[in-house]
C-alpha cells in the first residue's frame, strides 16, 4: 500500500484498536499474531502512533514504510548515482553520435593523404552532426586521379571509405621501332643473352653508359653485306660501381632545449594550432586514452623552447655511425634487383671539412 506504514506492536489487539480509535487514527489490515498486533496506518499518522506507543512503553517495529517522504529520504543519497548514470548515458549518446574517425580502405596506388584531404574539405572531425552530403563526398573522391569508384558509409562514430582504384596502364612495347639495347651504367659485362638482334659485347667487356649491347641490325649475308633491321631484345648483367661523395662539416648546429615548456591537451586527436611565444621550439606529441571502457583519445602537445648551439664534431668517434648512415642511405638508392658484391669507403680530412666517399660494387641488370 502506498503512503502507508505497517506496525508490529507487542500489545493486545483490542487495546491497540481502542487506543488508535480513541485518537481518531484509522487503521487497516489488523492481524493478531500471538501477543503481537500487526496493523497499517496512513503515513501522516506514523509519528502520532510512535509517540503513543512510546508514551505507553510498548515494544514496536515498523515493518514497512512506503511513504513518499521516506522514499525521497532513501533516494536522496542515490541522486549522485543517478546523476552519474545520466551523465554516462548522455555521454554515450553523444559519443555514439559523434563522427570521430575515418577508415580508408582499398587504396594501393593512390595516397591515403590525398583521399583524407578531400574528406577534410567536407567534414571537420570530430563532428556531432555531419553537414556534408555523402553523395557529394563520394563524387569528389571519385574525382581523384586513379580512383574509379568509391563508397562512403557511416557505422557508429566511424566513417568507412572504400575506394576502388583504376587498373594500371598496361606497358605495351612498341616492337615496330628498331632500337638498340644500350647499357644503363658504366660496367663490366658478366652475362649477356640476346633474344633478337646482334650481340655486340661479350663477358668481361667494359661498356660505357649508352653503349650498344644488342644491335637492332641482323647480318643476313656477310659476303654480300646484307643486313636487316629487327627489334633488338635481350638481357645483360654487368658489374657496376656506385659511388657517393659527401662533404661533412666539422662543426654542426643543433637545437637544445632551454627548459621552458608549455603543455596543451586536445581531445579526439584534434590538431593543435597553438603558437607558443618562443622564438624557436619543438613539439612533442603523446596520444593517450581517457578511459579503458570507452576509449576517448586525447593528445598532449608539449612545446619546448629551443636554441641553436654550434658544436664541434669528433669525427673519429662518430665515423662508424656516419658511414653506416650514409652507406644505408646509398643502399636504398641501389637498383632493387641488384646483388651487392662489396662496399667500402674512403675519408679525407680537409681543413674544416671531411670528404667521405662511399663505394658499392654490385652486379645488376644493365639493359
Amino acid at each position: 500500500m502506498i503512503n502507508h506504514c505497517r506496525f508490529k506492536v507487542k500489545a493486545d489487539t483490542v487495546f491497540m484498536i481502542n487506543l488508535l480509535n480513541y485518537n481518531k487514527i484509522p487503521l487497516k489490515k489488523i492481524v493478531s499474531k500471538n501477543e503481537y498486533t500487526v496493523f497499517c496506518v496512513k503515513s501522516i499518522y506514523k509519528d502520532d502512533v510512535i509517540n503513543m506507543l512510546n508514551e505507553r512503553s510498548k515494544e514496536y517495529a515498523i515493518l514497512k514504510d512506503s511513504s513518499v517522504k521516506t522514499f525521497f529520504k532513501k533516494n536522496t543519497l542515490r541522486f549522485g548515482l543517478y546523476t552519474g548514470l545520466m551523465i554516462v548515458a548522455l555521454f554515450m549518446v553523444f559519443y555514439g553520435g559523434t563522427l570521430a574517425r575515418v577508415e580508408i580502405s582499398g587504396n594501393n596506388l593512390v595516397e591515403q593523404s590525398e583521399i583524407k584531404k578531400v574528406i577534410d574539405k567536407h567534414l571537420e572531425l570530430p563532428t556531432f552532426k555531419p553537414k556534408a552530403d555523402f553523395n557529394t563526398l563520394t563524387k569528389d573522391i571519385i574525382a581523384i586521379e586513379g580512383i574509379s569508384s568509391a563508397s562512403v558509409s557511416r557505422k557508429g562514430n566511424t566513417l568507412f571509405v572504400q575506394v576502388y582504384e583504376e587498373l594500371p596502364k598496361v606497358d605495351i612495347e612498341d616492337k615496330t621501332v628498331y632500337k638498340d639495347v644500350v647499357s644503363k651504367y658504366d660496367s663490366i659485362i658478366t652475362r649477356v643473352v640476346a633474344f633478337s638482334g646482334t650481340c655486340k659485347v661479350k663477358k668481361g667487356d667494359s661498356v660505357k653508359k649508352g653503349q650498344t649491347i644488342i644491335s637492332a641490325i641482323v647480318v643476313l649475308d656477310e659476303e654480300q653485306n646484307l643486313t636487316a633491321p629487327t627489334y633488338a631484345n635481350g638481357i645483360a648483367y654487368g658489374r657496376v660501381w656506385i659511388t657517393k661523395e659527401l662533404i661533412i662539416e666539422k662543426t654542426y648546429i643543433t637545437a637544445e632545449r632551454t627548459g621552458k615548456s608549455v603543455s596543451r591537451v586536445k581531445f579526439f586527436n584534434k590538431a593543435d594550432d597553438y603558437k607558443p611565444e618562443f622564438k624557436q621550439y619543438e613539439v612533442e606529441k603523446q596520444t593517450c586514452y581517457l578511459n579503458s571502457v570507452i576509449a576517448i583519445p586525447y593528445t598532449i602537445y608539449t612545446y619546448y623552447e629551443t636554441k641553436n648551439v654550434e658544436k664541434e664534431m669528433n669525427f673519429e668517434e662518430n665515423e662508424q655511425a656516419i658511414v653506416e648512415k650514409h652507406t644505408n642511405k646509398l643502399f636504398e638508392e641501389l637498383p632493387s634487383d641488384c646483388m651487392v658484391i662489396r662496399n667500402w669507403h674512403t675519408t679525407k680530412m680537409l681543413d674544416k671539412k671531411i670528404k667521405l666517399v662511399i663505394y658499392y660494387e654490385i652486379e645488376t641488370k644493365i639493359t
Binding site: 489487539t13 483490542v14 484498536i17 481502542n18 488508535l20 480509535n21 480513541y22 481518531k24 484509522p26 487503521l27 487497516k28 489490515k29 489488523i30 492481524v31 493478531s32
Partner: protein, 86 residues
Amino acid sequence: MSNFYDDMLLKLGMPIEDTVGLKITICNFKGALIEGHKGLLLFTPTKIVVRIGKKKLEITGNNLFINEVSCDELYIRGHIASIEVC
C-alpha cells in the same frame, strides 16, 4: 412517526437514545460494517464484541478479523454466524 431504523431498533430491543447513529450492514454473512460503534471489547477469530452505547454487540462466526477501523466505523470480515445485542 417512526422510521425504518427506529422500527428495527425497537424490534432488536435497543433504546433509541443509546444507539444514535448506529448502523450495521451485513454483506452475505461474510462481512459486516458497523457504523457508530463506541469501541471494541473483545477480539478473537470466533467472537468479536463491540460496545454500542450501554449495550454490547456480539458477532460470532469463524475466521473473523477486523479489516479496517476508523473513528466510528468497523469493518469485520469472515464467516458470520450470528449478531446479537446483549
